[in-house]
Symmetry: none
Subunit: 190 residues, 4 copies
Amino acid sequence: MRVKDDTKFRAICDATISLVNEIGFAAASVAKIAKRAGVSPATIYIYFDNKDDLLVSTYTTIKKEMSEAMLAGIDLQAPVRDIFQQIWRQTFVYVTQHRDKFQFTEQFANSPYVDQVDSTEIDRYFAPVFAVIQRGIDQKIIKNVNFDLLSAFMFFPILTLANSRLCRSFTPTEENIDISFSLAWDAIKL
Amino acid sequence: MRVKDDTKFRAICDATISLVNEIGFAAASVAKIAKRAGVSPATIYIYFDNKDDLLVSTYTTIKKEMSEAMLAGIDLQAPVRDIFQQIWRQTFVYVTQHRDKFQFTEQFANSPYVDQVDSTEIDRYFAPVFAVIQRGIDQKIIKNVNFDLLSAFMFFPILTLANSRLCRSFTPTEENIDISFSLAWDAIKL
Amino acid sequence: MRVKDDTKFRAICDATISLVNEIGFAAASVAKIAKRAGVSPATIYIYFDNKDDLLVSTYTTIKKEMSEAMLAGIDLQAPVRDIFQQIWRQTFVYVTQHRDKFQFTEQFANSPYVDQVDSTEIDRYFAPVFAVIQRGIDQKIIKNVNFDLLSAFMFFPILTLANSRLCRSFTPTEENIDISFSLAWDAIKL
Amino acid sequence: MRVKDDTKFRAICDATISLVNEIGFAAASVAKIAKRAGVSPATIYIYFDNKDDLLVSTYTTIKKEMSEAMLAGIDLQAPVRDIFQQIWRQTFVYVTQHRDKFQFTEQFANSPYVDQVDSTEIDRYFAPVFAVIQRGIDQKIIKNVNFDLLSAFMFFPILTLANSRLCRSFTPTEENIDISFSLAWDAIKL
DNA sequence: GATGAATGAGTGTTCATTCAT
DNA sequence: CATGAATGAACACTCATTCAT
């Protein structure tokens, strides 16, 4: 299938995101998504192979947009700490401004659907970050431990803090963002 | 007349957990759960009001068991750091030994179903932990910041690291667990 | 099956009547009837063979009670017109005082369940009335036409008038009952 | 795209009518109706909101057709008695030629489903008849009594006589129809 | 390209009935 | 006698998907 009308494509994705957030994968039927997007159920099958493809495509589309927002304007030559702080801030901004998309990815990533995603593609989006981590380790600025372990303190706390389902008392003000970054940095720095 | 059977209750919960992990909430139908549990679909409705109740009850049952395992044998008079280290270890042990139950809670917590949970009940299970955090802050051992922020570094990294969907290269050996705890402690300690 | 506890038998019948009137045959399940009667579903099967038997027995029980009320204290030697007037009045009184039972029979008589009723037994209850009609014909007081035709004017209008679903503006006062009887009599008298 | 098919609508209604007559509302499931109509169960939900809507729509459709047949070609300027006699005859003809539809309405009218019908719409169909009754009263041809009371003798006996469940010995020949009308007229005339 | 009608398979749930106690 | 647990079959209804237009 090839995209003909980008407006319709977005409308369908947006309808998917909001509906899945509201009622979950189970109840978000193609018919309901079509109705919310203002198209016929049959039209969805012009843009997507099937329901799974619709969900997976929506997820990867968001992930790509998300990675671009996180890494926008990053100067990879800057000091490691500055790079992370900028990523940290930009991630918070993106997540805050696109709560619905973010919430969708969280639900998706914890469901069996995620197994259908081509993880190498997602990894490619975030490759520059991995390079910076490696530089930090080489320069003995960051602890020399497993990558997953560093990510668990460097990035996942953002997802936790931004997840309104999990954290109800934390508000992402400028100040709170910087405080939370300092905790992350304390965790991983040597 | 026959008597309600606790082994049947467990069989239904266990079937729910494994099936939801394999195919997700959407595809885990009552009929399939019943078949796996070795009972009639109608029997499920003797033990639970409806499908939602089945899922929510399964979740809260696990959460209770989980909190008991985390806090088992904790000496609340011990130094704050020791308490956290013990909780950290016990959580890892529980999560590692009950991957399926843990995975279920992760998927559940990121779905709209979680809104149906009585969160005050869950909070009660974990109340002792909150008390220890407060003591740490009062004794100027732990940073005086928002509770959600501390949790995001103190506990959620465990969930991330133990989540095989997210972290494929991290293995929870004795050593790795202690290393990861040291990152967490660096993050929150003053 | 044999009746052991008449109180329970009545309770089940009464529950059946009220529930069927409220929600119809389709929705009136054995479980709901049992709950309303304050017994276990299994108990119903001690008093009745199955659901159909429950409904049919309830119907014939009412019909018998109804015929007794209609014909109570009738002097079969009295003039034909007087007999009919008394029957007419007594029928109205019964129907008015037992609206629920009456409504049940109306719904039942218009459903396929009625085919399961032994109609000769019902006819036997009303045999004395048929004898009076015959006497009226022989005495050239009543028109010599088909029995069903006479019944259609002599008795069914009562059912119609007493049926609150059909007649909303007619109220069965003493006066209205006598007026309506005069119409019936005008219809059938020679 | 395909277009909604009126023959399908009729096929579903007809299947509903015959099946409900045979086995009642309770047993006439959507699946059975669909099978008899030669469509998929899902198709029924394209033409009707739900099962209740299917039954109610079928009822009102019949009632409309019935009222049109009863009042066809009536000269409202003719003498009151002639008008009623023509209505009486036409009703008998309709009921005799559409026993199944008629039987359905009788069962329906005595069930709780009837409460879902918009009775004002039904009344509108029969409004001309009410006007004639009023004229008869004003001209002192018909007894000045409650409308429901007149109907109970003027129209309901037809339903009774035509109801094969109730009247097994009455056959609606030309002669019998006129005889029965004379009884009705005797009942209501001044 | 886009649609709504159409569908067989499936959904969550309740059914009438039986069984062990 | 009386019960509530237990069940396979059926319920009303919705699903993802296809098809004719």
